[in-house]
Amino acid sequence: MKLLKIEWLKLRNHKFFWIGMALYAASMIVLITQMGKFAPFDSKNNEGGMIAFQNLADAGLYKLPYIWQHVTYLASFFKFIPAFLLIFFISNEYQYKTYRQNVIDGLSIGQYYISKLFSALIFTTISLEIVTATGFVMALIHNENIDWSKFLYGTDYLTGFFVEVLFIMMFTMFLTLVFKRSTITVIVILAYYFIAEPLLGLVLGEPVKNYLPTEPSRLLNLQPITRLLGADGLLGNVTPDVVSIKYLVTTIFYTVILGTAGYFILKKRDL
């Protein structure tokens, strides 16, 4: 608890934390609430008339139980916002040499590391809270005659979202500990996540591709939009109704590996 308190003091007093969180929450809320107004197939201009949806909201974007899958999918676009904040805060501790001072003052390296895990957990929990609250409000607005006994159906996607964000946190934290500097860490993360691993996946092909470090976290929530539009059949897509346990476990496995590796990096180095 002492460690959580220290970490919270460090975050709370920085305006970037509040600005970043506000931006994060705003981005998620805007995308989730406005996505419903987006109409990819406007019936008026679609002479074929096969798909006559007015917009995504009418198509069932906010319908229970699928709403959870939809909102977490949309929310995950912004997962790098808290990740970059985490990079910022951890690399600052190196830059200010406060990490070293914390250890001189009394923390062990293990305790310091746990305090950073709390940071990752704080960011992940806030992410989950924002998406849950937004999803809940949208569910209330867009569903009539809610069957409360079935309200929890589909919320496994909230678990999936939590695990995905936590994984991204540990992934970025690990690399921040390796590089110590924020700029290089951000570049490496983006280059790896969006270029290196997809390319590697292309080369290795299935099923190896699905077990590269970041891939399982991406497979937790496949895009559900084609199903929403009734286009799955057309495109030969199969959108799962539940989070894949296999990829959930793999993601958790990588999260633990990165978390442990981060500790050993700190332990091995001089401060």
């Binding site: 002492k2 308190k5 220290i6 003091l9 460090k10 007093n13 920085h14 305006k15 600052n92 200010y96 040499k97 406060t98 070293r100 001072q101 914390n102 250890v103 001189i104 003052d105 009394g106 923390l107 062990s108 001089d270 401060l271």
Partner: protein, 296 residues
């Protein structure tokens, strides 16, 4: 003599550079202990090792007869190199973090800030502080847990003369409360003015450890002149305590090989019928000693 810190054979190298070589040192309780050496002589590395942030290659150390642990860390207030704080937080907030880390119940933050003369600026952000204020906040932070020992690394580095004088006064004031102080510095005057003990490091090797008087007083120099310096020189040369006499700008410089007070010199010369018109102890400066040591 009770030892606060005992260092046995500490060694650390960075690649091929030997930062600290087989260093053994005892820091007595109640001393103001200066660790002196040019830049790169291993002072900060030594302090980093005993503070638990640099892993020694070999050797060990004990604080209060124990290995470094949370309890000993709480009894030691330390700053390594520069004052390290969160720039976006005020002095008070920064001290709150230190208090949480050290698990200090009811930390006397305001009081400690007053001690170092930062009482009025406590709520300003750290990044708005001048270098002197940052140094003083660092001392406040180190004092917060009411430690038995204070470790300061180059506490006056980069300060203007007034800032240096303030820090020096502060150190002497803290020492007068019975807190043991370790100061690493390459500024000799600093050590000379505040320390009771000193160790001299050069390229990671210990060249001297002992009381500051031993370091400065080994070769006392006395400036003397009388009506007839020729006779005076002969008389001085005859004294056991005088090692050699030289002339310098109309004054005689007598190099002493043992402690000899001005009283004694005056009395003995008077007994020989010589009355001096000038008698000043010129302490061989620490600088001379220091250079002698590291050139040896």
């Amino acid at each position: 003599m009770e030892k606060i810190l005992e260092i046995n054979g500490l060694t650390k190298s960075y690649g091929r550079i030997q930062a600290v070589q087989n260093l053994s040192l005892d820091i007595p309780k109640g001393s103001v202990f200066g660790i002196l050496g040019p830049n790169g002589s291993g002072k900060t590395t030594t302090l980093g090792m005993v503070l638990g942030v640099i892993k020694p290659d070999s050797g060990n150390f004990n604080w209060f007869g124990q290995q470094l642990n949370f309890d000993t860390k709480k009894r030691v207030g330390a700053i390594l190199e520069t004052p390290n704080f969160y720039p976006y937080m005020s002095g008070v907030k920064n001290l709150e973090i230190v208090a949480s880390i050290k698990e200090i119940r009811n930390p006397k933050i305001e009081e400690t800030l007053n001690t170092v003369g930062l009482g009025e600026r406590g709520h300003s952000k750290f990044k708005s502080y001048s270098l002197g204020m940052k140094q003083r906040l660092a001392i406040a932070s180190a004092l917060l847990s009411q430690p038995e020992i204070l470790v300061l690394d180059e506490p006056t580095n980069g300060l203007d003369p007034q800032g240096i004088a303030q820090i020096r006064e502060l150190i002497l004031e803290i020492a007068s409360r019975g807190i043991t102080i370790i100061i690493a510095s390459h500024i000799l005057v600093e050590i000379e003015k505040v320390c009771t003990h000193a160790a001299v490091l050069q390229r990671g090797v210990l060249r001297f450890a002992g009381r500051v008087e031993e370091l400065t007083g080994l070769e006392g120099l006395v400036e003397i002149s009388a009506a007839d310096n020729g006779i005076l020189m002969n008389v001085l040369n005859a004294f056991d305590a005088v090692e050699s006499v030289t002339e310098e700008g109309g004054l005689l410089l007598a190099k002493l090989n043992k402690e000899w007070s001005a009283d004694d010199i005056n009395r003995q010369l008077a007994a020989q019928g010589i009355f001096v018109n000038h008698l000043v102890f010129r302490k061989a400066s620490l600088e001379t000693q220091f250079l002698n040591l590291i050139e040896a």
